[in-house]
């Protein structure tokens, strides 16, 4: 059983990603309001391997205090050692690298542990909202912004292995299909050993 913990700001599509992966409405989602308020496990047996997603409440929903409450909930309920990879979920179509995203990354680093980033994946959602001709350029910018920021903030922690970037970077769209020419089934990615 491979375990993935999904983290990120509220509304980026963490729960939807679970539903899209399994093609079933397993995790409760809302289009307009934060709805995942607890840590939730969604395990699924697939012909090519068993997968468990750990869904977590989205951050940057209200004030700092609420974020800290959610993160302490995660700390209490998830054994990070048992997690194969942390999946940081964020929107591809953000026009800026915003302070609230920086804040979210900082909080995840300080409240969980800085080393989580060394086995982390990046999932960029809303890929179809960025036009084809800009998608590559926008992706590079988003990845670079996030990775450099994480490199910077984890540097202070003097990790034995400094953060060198996400192990895997994926673009998805939870609502729209056929936005890309190079389609790869998500399950094959999730079950492949990294």
């Amino acid at each position: 059983m491979r375990r993935f913990m999904l983290v990120g700001k509220t509304g980026v599509g963490k729960s939807s990603f679970i539903n899209s992966t399994f093609g079933q409405y397993l995790a409760k989602t809302s289009e307009f309001e934060a709805c995942t308020k607890l840590v939730e496990y969604h395990a699924h047996n697939t012909p090519i391997g068993d997968i468990c997603f750990i869904d977590t409440p989205g951050l940057a929903e209200d004030d700092n205090g609420l974020d800290k409450k959610y993160l302490s909930l995660i700390r209490g309920q998830v054994d990070l050692k048992q997690v194969n990879a942390i999946i940081y979920v964020t929107r591809l179509d953000e026009t800026r690298f915003r302070p609230d995203e920086k804040q979210t990354l900082s909080l995840l680093t300080s409240e969980l542990e800085p080393s989580i980033w060394n086995r982390s994946w990046l999932v960029l959602t809303f890929a179809a909202s960025v036009p084809n001709e800009h998608r590559q350029e926008v992706t590079c910018k988003r990845v670079k912004d996030i990775e450099s920021f994480l490199q910077n903030i984890t540097m202070k922690n003097r990790l034995t292995q400094p953060f060198k970037g996400f192990q895997l970077k994926l673009r998805v769209d939870n609502l729209v299909s056929d936005w890309s020419q190079n389609k790869v089934p998500i399950l094959s990615v999730l079950t492949k050993q990294v």
């Binding site: 700001k9 307009f32 929903e61 609230d100 804040q103």
Partner: protein, 354 residues
């Protein structure tokens, strides 16, 4: 009352109404108006204000959100000065105690009144974000919550919502933002806040309507009593451009009125053109059509009604002029003769028809 008496009385009322309006417009000449734009950096505040005013007022920037706190853009249209205050950082900043209050206090001391306030958010955002909640709180605390009386919620990126979901998204997102504003402002104020979907990459929103007229109408509906006349003077000619033959224009307006009074779409102008072509049977009139200037901001009949009502409520035209056809035929040519921003407003009022 004999026919001639009634005509005389109408002429008298028209004159009186006109001089009363002119007085109001002239006394407002050195007034200016102020827009305050609230919303996260990158949502499209600058692009939207530029679209509305038809002028590059605010730079469409790509700077990082934290580099700037408050930005003042001074601009002028038709001799009317106005200020656009952009607040990058207000809905983007990580909490830094004390810091916010300083620059907000600075803003309050510089700005005596806010005539129109926009809360701008992307329609395709899936949440009212923590940043936005904080921005709403800061603005309500800095100014009085009454500042929301002049607010419009503007949703950008409207076309990223497909048509069947567009109305639902608009309603739901409006409701959630209003709920947040309701923490500070009274229910009365919150209920009255309108919202509008815009898209700066397209003329239309997913409902196929042209959004600029709707944005104009909602901003106009909410503008303060102080700002209404200068705003009218700056924008009247964008809605009703001065025509070379105002008389002909008036005639066409009547056509459009009778044909479209029940229509709820923004295509009344194209219909109006179409009607004119339809009634044209000589070569000479085709030339006239060429001279007809397409308005930059197109207003449909429903929007016209909203604007008309606001003008009456704001007391710009005397109550006696609102009954019967006091304002109409005579006003258009007078507006054209006066010219300038004042003439444009008179022409605009005539075009609205009271």
């Amino acid at each position: 009352m004999s026919e001639s008496n009634s005509i005389n009385s109408t002429v008298y009322k028209t004159k009186e109404a006109l001089s009363s309006i002119l007085e109001k417009l002239k006394s407002a000449k050195d007034k200016k108006f102020v827009f305050l734009l609230i919303g996260r950096t990158g949502v499209g505040k600058s692009s939207t204000i530029n679209s509305l005013m038809g002028k590059e007022i605010a730079q469409v920037g790509h700077y990082e959100p934290t580099t700037m706190k408050v930005k003042y853009y001074e601009s002028e249209i038709n001799g009317i000065d106005f200020t656009v205050i952009d607040t990058p950082g207000l809905c983007d900043e990580i909490e830094e105690a004390g810091n916010d209050e300083k620059y907000l206090e600075d803003m309050r001391s510089k700005v005596k009144h806010i005539d129109s306030m926009w809360f701008v958010s992307r329609l395709d955002d899936t949440r009212v974000t923590a940043d936005e909640k904080r921005g709403i709180k800061l603005i309500s605390n800095t100014f009085s919550p009454k500042v929301w009386e002049h607010a419009v919620i503007v949703f950008t990126h409207a076309n990223s919502m497909a048509e069947p979901r567009y109305q639902e998204a608009l309603e739901k997102r409006t409701e959630l933002i209003k709920r947040e504003i309701g923490k500070y402002a009274s229910a009365n104020i919150v209920d009255s806040i309108p919202s509008v979907g815009v898209d700066n990459t397209s003329k239309t929103t997913p409902d196929k309507e042209e959004w600029l007229g709707e944005l104009y109408t909602k901003v106009f509906l909410r503008i303060s009593d102080h700002g209404i006349i200068p705003f009218l003077m700056a924008t009247a000619d964008s809605v009703n451009p001065p025509q070379t033959k105002p008389q002909a224009n008036k005639q066409n307006n009547n056509n459009s009125h009778s044909n479209n009074s029940h229509s709820n779409n923004s295509h009344s102008h194209s219909t109006r053109e179409h009607n004119r072509s339809f009634h044209t049977d000589t070569f000479g009139k085709t030339q006239k059509e060429e001279k007809w200037q397409e308005p930059r901001i197109k207003i449909n009949e429903v929007q016209k009604k909203v604007i008309r009502k606001k003008i009456i409520d704001a007391g710009i035209i005397p109550t006696l002029a609102t009954t019967g056809s006091v304002i109409g035929a005579g006003f258009g040519p007078v507006g054209a003769a006066i010219g300038g921003a004042v003439g444009a407003v008179v022409g605009f009022i005539a075009w609205l028809g009271f």
